[in-house]
């Protein structure tokens, strides 16, 4: 069941953290948790700090039908253990350096095979028409660890429809911000910058595919891909591109960054698949962050019923 809730304030006009913290504690201690909706406060649109701490509360509904009931990882796990090579190669580097990225103002260029005009859209224009929902998804990294994350976002398909892609649009190509003076990891060519990812159109239109703008009820921390990122829960984490500045509808299959870097190790599809090992390590099991024992990895990360049909007839050992 989807409870819709009309959002009528711009994304930028949400309460600064220091104003809502007390109210939130009140809500959390009361029975308001069961309400499932945190109503936003309309005061002051100006965000005080610009650092990583400047997260704002979001208005959203809970989408239980699309959420796992597994134990969610702590905010600390989700925001301190990241792969975001734009800020360095260590898991702690994004949390350390991502505050150097300016996320406001932010624009997203949308172009390609579509009827809407190709243009640079302000973040508010991108986000405004969409009601936000919380979806608790499993995240499986190609490095054989996993987490459970409460994302806030909206289906990518709703965004795509607004731009009316033509029948030529077979694939969607996404690009991350390239700004080496703020994203210190880009000063070295560890990967070919900017980071690029791609989806086949039917994957992009799948209801599970999310554009996330927040987690744990608030806007995304920079290290998690602020201000907007992709979340494709049945694929390895590197497909879920962060801090998107460009979305293109294209005729030919995009060439994702990791795929270019090591084609034998990272395929275009990158579907979670316990039967197809990474050439250097097994994908049969994973370590859920916060747990001691490894657990078995599930086909399509446990989303096989929802997405299995997208790959019917494909040889997943070749098109991995």
């Amino acid at each position: 069941m989807l409870i819709t809730h009309k959002r009528d304030i711009p994304f930028s006009e949400v309460t600064p953290r220091h104003l809502y913290v007390n109210r939130r504690e009140f809500l959390m201690t009361g029975s308001a948790v069961t309400l499932g909706v945190f109503a936003g406060h309309l005061a002051g649109g100006d965000v005080n700090g610009t650092g990583a701490e400047a997260r704002n509360e979001l208005l959203f509904t809970r989408n239980a039908a699309f959420s796992t009931d597994e134990k969610v990882n702590s905010l600390d796990d989700v925001t301190s253990y990241n792969n975001f090579y734009e800020f360095g190669l260590g898991k702690g580097d994004p949390a350390r350096y991502a505050h150097e990225m300016t996320v406001r103002p932010w624009t997203v260029r949308v172009e390609g095979e579509m009827r809407a005009p190709a243009a640079e859209y302000a973040l508010d224009d991108i986000l405004k028409p969409h009601a936000l929902e919380e979806r608790i998804y499993r995240l499986r990294c190609v490095e054989a660890w996993s987490m459970v994350v409460p994302w806030i976002g909206f289906p990518l398909r709703d965004l795509i429809k607004r731009f009316e892609p033509t029948s030529n649009a077979r694939w969607v190509r996404f690009t991350t911000l390239y700004r080496p003076n703020e994203l210190r990891g880009q000063r070295r060519t560890t990967l070919r910058w900017p980071y690029v990812e791609g989806l086949r159109m039917d994957e992009a239109l799948h209801p599970l595919t999310l554009i996330a703008v927040g987690l744990y009820g608030e806007t995304l921390p920079n290290q998690n891909g602020a201000p907007l990122r992709l979340v494709v829960p049945w694929k390895y984490g590197f497909k879920s591109i962060k801090s998107i500045v460009k979305i293109e509808f294209v005729k030919t299959q995009p060439k994702p960054t990791w795929n270019l870097s090591a084609p034998r190790e990272y395929g275009f599809y990158a579907n979670v698949n316990p039967q197809v090992d990474h050439p250097r390590w097994s994908q049969a099991s994973e370590r859920r962050i916060g747990r001691f024992f490894r657990q078995k990895t599930r086909m399509f990360n446990g989303y096989a019923d929802e997405v299995g049909h997208l790959y019917a007839g494909m040889d997943l050992t070749r098109q991995f």
């Binding site: 253990y81 190669l89 990967l191 390590w281 097994s282």
Partner: protein
Amino acid sequence: MGYSKALLWIVCLSPAGWLVWEAVAGGLGANPIEAITHATGDWALRLLFVTLAVTPLRRVTGWNPIIRYRRMLGLFAFFYASLHFLSYVVLDHFFAFGSILEDITTRRYVTVGFAGFVLLIPLAMTSTRGMIRRLGGRRWQALHRLVYVSAIAGVVHYLWLVKVDVRPPVIYALILSLLLGARLWRGHRQPARKPVKRIPSLRLKGART
């Protein structure tokens, strides 16, 4: 002498102590098992390098007493390599021997790392004075040349497991080439002396690595 060895013992043990401290204090981050595996692997290689630096350092500085510390350093390298292997078997896979065996036989970075570790076992076992005497200096020395193979295996293991950033393992490889190169270079400048028949006790004295 007694004090200096005790001090070195404490220095060598401090990375393990630091790990235990951080693990208890929750300072190892969201994935402590990975942190422990990486740290123990790093220290195994570092101490192996320090051990391999003893002989070149002795030659360059002429400070002969340094040789006394070599065995302890080598055993600490083995200690960290064992912790590294144990953290893989116990913490990472919790004795799932099926997948461990599969790893060792099919994943080349595991194969080479495991080989490097196994090669250290006979060296640790024959590190006592009694074993040196029993084997005889020359045979003992030949056996202990395996440490070069083990160190190379360790660096290759590191190089083969990283995703994109080869800088750290390449730095390790450079250091190792320096340490091994110093030996080759010396061997080149001083052609091997004609083997002279010696009595076993003297052989040990003249043993060089």
